[in-house]
């Protein structure tokens, strides 16, 4: 096995580790509303979401194509650049997980890859038009759209069913959440698993393992789907708490509306190849379903903290990705990525132990 194949192996393992943390980190987005309205028990909700995340990863490849071609120049990419970008994304995911903040895994990944590419190959290798048109503008529009749909959906629900007895209506909407929650998990699989597929495909192209115009290999699809499903099943319980109870205290109709709004926006965006932040979209739907009932139902302080985390995600992950590239560049060949992986694993383990010992996260409010 050549040295470049070894580096490729480390990159693929790191990408799948990112995919795992993506599922782990974003489980909350998918299941929090179902759990907080008692539509499903936590274990069943998480298992159900894991299965549908796995299935969703097979549905479409539009987002993978965008990540592989429209964010950075594929010709300027090396396996070390991708490795550095992934470390930037994983590190930012773990930092926000540590503090219980539902930030965007997608923007962390794109930020990390952009930062590492910028340091490695200069500004020309960063496709500003693609980032603006395919990432930043959809990222601004999608949560607002989910918010608007959430407001209108809850208004429709209350308009049609407001005068009915609450017991049967609540039971009905809990059943509805099984459908809307399933669609949301499917949507998450279509959009988020594909980002990892896109990154692994970029690494395979950079290594010369596949042609630049090749399709995403089947083993890449299966392994990315499995990693995100496993991460989802493992679950990020502290973010579930923030997403499910701290933004708004919701009823079953609001949960259904929020999930429906999120699923509609993410599935449609996946169809058109926009790599969205599923976190932002779902939080937009949750806030919309809260604001549609009354504006004061939304804890705007918590929402503000989440917005700050989102704003920091792209630059922070880019900075970590760029810094990681500098470190790996100091050590020749496989030594740099190996060293960074070992240090990263050690820091991640320390963060887990510290968090388990201290229990509650630093509150998001």
């Amino acid at each position: 096995m050549s040295e470049s194949d070894l580096i490729l192996g480390i990159v693929v393992a790191t990408a799948l580790a990112f995919d795992f943390t993506n599922g782990f980190h974003d489980t909350a987005n998918v299941v929090a509303t179902s759990i907080s309205t008692r539509a499903m028990s936590p274990r069943i909700a998480v298992g159900y979401a894991a299965m549908l995340n796995f299935a969703g990863a097979f549905i479409s490849l539009q987002v993978a194509a965008t990540v592989a071609n429209d964010v950075v120049d594929p010709l300027a990419i090396t396996t070390t650049v991708i490795f550095a970008g992934l470390i930037g994304a994983i590190t930012w995911n773990l930092i926000t997980w540590y503090f219980g903040l539902p930030s965007s895994s997608s923007h962390a990944l794109i930020g990390g890859v952009v930062g590492a590419t910028f340091v490695a190959a200069g500004a020309d290798a960063v496709l500003g038009d693609g980032i603006l048109g395919k990432v930043l503008i959809p990222a601004l529009i999608a949560p607002v759209l989910a918010f608007v749909i959430g407001v209108l959906a809850i208004t429709i629900c209350y308009g049609i069913l407001g005068r009915q007895r609450p017991g049967p209506v609540t039971r009905g909407f809990r059943f509805g959440q099984v459908i809307s929650g399933g669609l949301l998990a499917l949507a998450h699989g279509t959009n988020d698993a594909q980002k990892t597929m896109g990154v692994i495909t970029l690494a395979l192209i950079a290594n010369g393992s596949i042609a630049s115009d090749a399709e995403v290999p089947t083993w890449v699809i299966v392994s990315a789907a499995s990693a995100i499903a496993l991460g989802t099943y493992t679950g990020g319980w502290r973010i579930i708490k923030t997403m499910g109870t701290r933004i708004i205290k919701m009823d079953a109709a609001q949960g259904f509306s929020a999930q429906g709004a999120g699923a509609a926006v993410i599935l449609t965006s996946s169809h058109f190849g926009f790599p969205l932040s599923t976190t932002q979209v779902i939080a937009g739907g949750v806030m919309g379903a809260g604001a549609g009932k009354r504006l004061s139902a939304v804890r705007w302080g918590v929402a503000g903290n989440i917005v700050v985390a989102w704003l920091l995600t792209l630059p922070a992950a880019a900075a970590i990705g760029g810094l990681t590239y500098v470190v790996t560049d100091v050590f020749p060949g496989v030594v740099g990525p190996l060293l960074v992986s070992l240090v990263g694993l050690g820091l991640a383990a320390a963060a887990f132990v510290r968090r388990v010992r201290h229990g509650e996260p630093v509150p998001a409010a």
Binding site: I59, S60, Q62, D129, L132, G133, K134, I137, P138, I141, L145, A146, V148, I149, L152, A153, I156, C157, I160, L161, Q164, R165, P168, V169, G172, F173, G176, I179, S180, L183, L186, T190, F256, S257, G260, A261, A263, A264, V265, L267, T268, S269, S270, H271, F272, G273, F274
Partner: protein
């Protein structure tokens, strides 16, 4: 400048289809629930014709919801 960078048609279609899907499914499912709750009340009160009418609303609503979900997934997989 932004107009040349952004695929405005795709963004516009995303917004329109999301709105139609999100609000359409919500409305149809809410009507199904309305049919189910009213059917139960009408049955309890012995109004069988009204109960049958609301049962039809509930069934049509549920079928519409299922159809919208399946249709959406088929559209996703067809591209």
């Amino acid at each position: 400048m932004i107009a040349t960078v952004v695929d405005t048609t795709a963004l516009w279609e995303t917004a329109v289809y999301s709105l139609i899907a999100g609000l359409g499914v919500t409305a149809i499912f809410s009507l199904a629930l309305l049919g189910a709750t009213r059917m139960s009340e009408a049955t309890r009160d012995g109004r069988s014709a009204t109960a049958a009418l609301y049962a039809a609303v509930a069934v049509i609503g549920l079928l519409g919801t299922a159809g919208a979900v399946v249709g959406g997934v088929i559209v996703m997989t067809s591209k």
